[in-house]
């Protein structure tokens, strides 16, 4: 069963940064789809919380955005990672690993 989207809180930034570090630029919908596809629908991004998160990260200087016109003529706002974002990704990744390792240890040894 898919976890409640709430549990993504805290790791949404990590996921977005990671996705953008692999393929960018991407627009919001594509980021969302990518997270869903790669996690085989295990992780679902609540569509409503994606954009505020993107804008916050943009403000923090981790990602930057620009408007492009796609081949079908529609305009879309696409995001890509900045240098600051790359560093942030490193920080978040190691934090996640530390947390995950700690949780695993608890599961194993408790």
């Amino acid at each position: 069963m898919a976890p409640k989207p709430d549990t993504l809180q805290g790791s949404l930034d990590l996921l977005v940064l990671k996705i953008l570090s692999r393929r960018s630029p991407l627009h919001g919908y594509a980021i969302m789809s990518a997270i869903q596809d790669i996690s085989a629908d295990t992780l679902r991004v609540e569509e409503g919380s994606l954009y505020p998160a993107l804008h916050r990260m943009e403000e923090s200087g981790w990602i930057r955005a620009q408007w492009i016109t796609k081949e079908n003529g529609r305009r879309a706002r696409v995001y890509e990672l900045t240098i600051g974002g790359k560093k942030q990704l490193g920080i978040e990744e190691s934090r996640w690993k530390a947390v995950a390792a700690a949780v695993n240890r608890v599961l194993r040894e408790a």
């Binding site: 627009h27 919001g28 919908y29 594509a30 789809s33 569509e47 409503g48 954009y51 505020p52 804008h55 916050r56 943009e58 403000e59 923090s60 200087g61 981790w62 930057r64 079908n72 529609r74 305009r75 879309a76 706002r77 600051g84 560093k87 942030q88 920080i91």
Partner: protein, 885 residues
């Protein structure tokens, strides 16, 4: 996202909302395109409005939050380095305080619109042409009969208002013993309605109060005078007083803030133009004409209508000119009428002080730049000291812009604190300077309100200074290489930026010093200009009588003064030399008109002796000689009218002013040149004539006089208290005479150098401040560069470098930059000197002493400022240096 865009975001929320909406819309479209149900997609996304709010808040709040954090951190940084921060704030406060004070002055004097309706539509009617001596001039003075025609000619397109040149008048509300001096201005009755001014009490003039010459004897008091004299007592309206032997009635009080149309003078009483004698004279120019243009009417339209009216009037007048030279007539008829913008009023003081004040403003700007450069250098040095901190911030993800924001907040704190301190300084400084414009017995009076204009200027200045000061350290921060900095490597930059700033400081310092030198020399040359007589120990009593008094009355008063202890000699004259009064006319020799415009002064026998003007030929006047008939002339007169020939016994003539008759004079004496009008012009040809005139009624006793000056020479070392005794002695001797003013000749002479004294004093002060600040700058930069390179210097010393080599190495760049700065300053100084040439007197900017002195002084200051850092460098202990790290 740039800081600018973030700031813009604050104010452009609409645009931001649109962007967010568009992005969400594109999300929905994408979802639908991938085959999802539109309704389901919309539900999944949630309320558009909520998103929009959340996203916008994210953008703004993150920024505001960082701003707050930076502000707190910046403040903490400043408090950590208390002494350097205080130095930065104080030096900047001085610069900013000067700037605000300068702005208040310039604004109140030159730029602020008059507090009247349609000030922007206000123009002054002026005429441009060649003056009597062939000099190009623009004059605003007008004749009343012409004014009446002009007003009718532009009726419907512009309203013309006559406002006289303000003058000092004497009035009394009680008895003659309680005379008050007031500033008086004659104004058209319809001025107040045209300016849409409302009375503070009583009523103001209307057109009906200004129809018949000589009436009505009404006045309107100004709000300031009403406050000062009557404590805003409403019963002041209706009171009467005597002025010029007429009884006037107060009918009302002008509104608060309106102080007349002459910046620099605050009018006390307004009188209708019809009360001025000149309204019936075609040859009296005694007022300015202000034109209030109707909306949509162009300046040219009005000008083209006025020009022919003036031309016709002048042609009529020219028919009356019988004796004037032809060239004079041509010049008179070729005058052109101009309309000059006058939204901020017009005054002679404004014209005289416009350029000096602008020059002072520019000097202040330079001092401010010097101060800013200091703060920028200080912050750059601090930023360098915090190099690792900055590198750490970058490596954990702070954008460089974020660091710039941090620096900006710091400099904003400094600028804000400096503007607060500087504001207090400006509060005091602006009135201080105003009181020193014009001679001390009639100082400039200027309303200096602290209104939105001043506040806005101070705010803009604070922002500008904050940005300028943060600029240099920001460049520095943007170079930070985190990897190297964190490894502990010192940056090897030599602080080229800081040196450039020092060069700028030296350049501006040179310019201020150069200008100050020119102004101080000008003042000294003028103040020590020989006057041709001895001013020391001369006291001038100016006396007047209600009814003209015959010679015995004057002679008796003069005789009584002579017996006051301490008085050496007494003479009488129409007015003292150099007090601003003048009486002139073209001279005729052998019944031929000449182009010589000579100045006349009526004097009693003994005048030359009392003044110590040496008589070189002939004799003094005899007691029975009256005007006209005999004259004593000066050398310039002999040179210009008689070609240097012996003039004794020769005759010359002066026009009487009616255009037909002339007075004849026989030269009985020749004296050395003495200054009559001012200190700057070449000596004017001057003729001294007897004090009393022949009686027009044909009586043998000369004509009675209603005014004159007693010239009293005191013995050396006589106490100043004697001046009071002199005053009472005159009225004791003859109660008919009243002493209206008592001055020393030295005071009168000094009035001619007030402007130069002010310029010299302030420019000198700015130069000193600039020098001090530049010295601090040099000291700081050298000190910092030695600190930065102490390891390197240590190594060199260890390897055997001699102190001299170290000193040279430390100072070579600084000397180079100082030389560049000096060169730039020299270039700027010479390029701009033309602008101040009219303010200079007998001093050449190219005079080597004018440039060498500042160069030597600045160079000397730099050496002194550099010494501490040099000593520190030379004394570096290689052993301890090499142990560091």
């Amino acid at each position: 996202m740039s800081i600018l865009r973030r700031v813009a975001n604050l104010f452009r929320t609409k645009q931001l909302n649109r962007e967010i909406d568009e992005e969400l819309q594109s999300h929905l479209e994408e979802a639908v395109a991938r085959g999802r149900d539109p309704e389901e997609a919309r539900r999944a996304l949630g309320s558009l409005l909520r998103h929009r709010e959340a996203s916008r808040d994210e953008r703004l709040i993150v920024w505001l939050d960082s701003l707050r954090a930076d502000a707190v951190f910046g403040l903490r940084q400043l408090r950590k380095n208390k002494i350097t921060s205080a130095a930065a704030i104080l030096s900047l406060a001085l610069g900013m305080g000067l700037a605000v004070a300068g702005f208040r002055l310039l604004d109140a004097f030159l730029w602020r619109p008059l507090p009247v309706a349609h000030a922007e539509q206000l123009f002054a009617v002026a005429r441009q042409g060649l003056g009597p001596s062939g000099d190009f001039r623009v004059s605003e003075a007008n004749e009343y009969p012409l004014f009446v025609r002009e007003r009718a000619a532009v009726c419907g397109e512009a309203e013309l208002v006559a406002v006289s040149y303000s003058n000092r008048a004497e009035l009394t509300f009680k008895t003659d013993d309680e005379i008050e001096k007031v500033e008086r201005q004659y104004v058209s009755g319809w001025m107040f309605p045209a300016f849409e001014l409302l009375p503070a009490a009583g009523r103001l003039f209307t057109e009906d109060d200004d129809r018949t010459p000589g009436e009505p004897a009404y006045v309107v008091l100004s709000y300031e005078y009403w406050t000062r004299r009557f404590g805003r007592d409403p019963s002041a309206v209706g009171r009467t007083f005597r002025m010029d032997n007429r009884i006037f009635t107060v009918i009302g009080v002008s509104p608060k803030g309106f102080t007349g149309t002459e910046p620099g003078t605050m009018i006390d009483v307004f009188v209708p133009t019809m009360m001025h004698e000149g309204v019936t004279h075609s040859d009296w120019s005694w007022f300015r004409t202000l034109a209030i243009l109707q909306p949509g009417v162009s300046v040219d339209t009005v000008r083209e209508k006025l020009q022919p009216v003036m031309q016709a009037f002048h042609e009529e007048r020219a028919k009356g000119f019988k004796t004037e030279p032809k060239s004079f007539l041509d010049r008179f008829l070729s005058q052109k009428l101009l309309l000059e913008p006058a939204s901020s009023g017009l005054s002679g003081m404004q014209a005289e002080y416009r350029r000096p004040l602008v020059v002072l403003g520019l000097l202040i700007a330079m001092v401010l730049v010097i101060a800013c450069a200091n703060v920028a250098n200080l912050m750059t040095a601090q930023a360098a000291a915090r190099h690792r901190e900055m590198a750490l911030r970058i490596s954990i993800g702070a954008g460089r812009l974020r660091l710039v924001q941090l620096l900006l907040m710091e400099s904003a704190w400094i600028a804000a604190a400096a503007s607060a301190v500087g504001g207090v300084f400006a509060w005091w400084a602006a009135p201080f300077v105003v009181a020193r414009i014009n001679p001390s017995n009639s100082p400039a009076q200027l309303a200096l309100p602290l209104d939105w204009r001043v506040t806005l200027f101070a705010a803009l200045l604070t922002f500008a200074v904050a940005f300028v000061c943060a600029f240099a350290p920001s460049l520095r921060v943007s170079e930070v290489e985190p990897a190297q900095a964190l490894k502990g490597e010192e940056r090897q930059s030599r602080g080229r930026l800081m040196l450039t700033l020092v060069a700028t400081q030296v350049a501006f310092c040179f310019v201020t010093y150069f200008a100050a030198g020119l102004f101080v020399t000008t003042f000294e040359r003028l103040a020590h200009q020989p006057t041709g007589y001895s001013s020391e120990n001369l006291v001038i009593l100016t006396a007047s009588a209600h009814q003209p008094q015959p010679p015995p009355v004057w002679d008796e008063a003069s005789g009584r003064l002579r017996y006051v202890p301490g008085v050496e000699s007494v003479a009488m004259a129409g007015w003292p030399l150099l007090d601003g009064n003048g009486w002139n006319g073209f001279i005729w020799v052998n019944s031929q008109s000449t182009e010589v415009l000579a100045y006349f002064l009526s004097v009693s026998p003994g005048f030359m002796d009392t003044m110590r003007i040496p008589l070189i030929q002939g004799r003094d006047f005899r007691p029975d000689e009256v005007f006209p008939g005999k004259a004593i002339v000066n050398e310039a007169f002999v040179q210009q009218c008689f070609g240097g020939r012996n003039p004794l016994g020769q005759w010359f003539e002066k026009e009487t002013g009616d255009g037909v008759t002339r007075w004849r004079f026989e030269v009985v004496g020749v004296v050395r040149n003495a200054r009559y009008r001012n200190m700057r012009e070449p000596m004017t040809p001057t003729a001294y004539v007897p004090f009393f005139r022949t009686n027009p009624a044909g009586l043998s006793e000369p004509e009675p006089k209603d005014g004159g000056s007693f010239i009293v020479r005191m013995r050396k070392g006589s106490p100043a208290a004697l001046m009071g005794i002199l005053r009472s002695e005159v009225s004791h001797a003859r109660p008919e005479l009243r002493v209206s003013s008592i001055r020393t000749q030295v005071e009168i002479n000094e009035a001619h150098t007030v402007r130069e004294r002010l310029l010299a004093m302030l420019a000198g002060f700015f130069a000193a401040v600039g020098l001090l600040l530049a010295a601090v700058g040099v000291y700081g930069v050298l000190h910092y560069s030695v600190l930065q390179r102490q390891k390197e210097i240590g190594v060199r010393i260890a390897l055997g470098a001699r102190p001299f080599d170290i000193a040279r190495q430390v100072t070579v760049e600084m000397s180079f930059m100082a030389a560049i700065g000096m060169g730039a300053g020299l270039a700027v100084g010479f390029a701009t000197v033309r602008f101040i040439a009219s303010l200079l007197y007998e001093v050449k900017p190219t005079d080597p002493s004018m440039t060498i002195t500042p160069i030597l002084v600045i160079a000397g200051t730099i050496v002194v400022a550099a010494l501490p850092a040099l000593i520190r460098a030379v004394r570096i202990d290689p052993a301890s240096m090499l142990r560091v790290d």
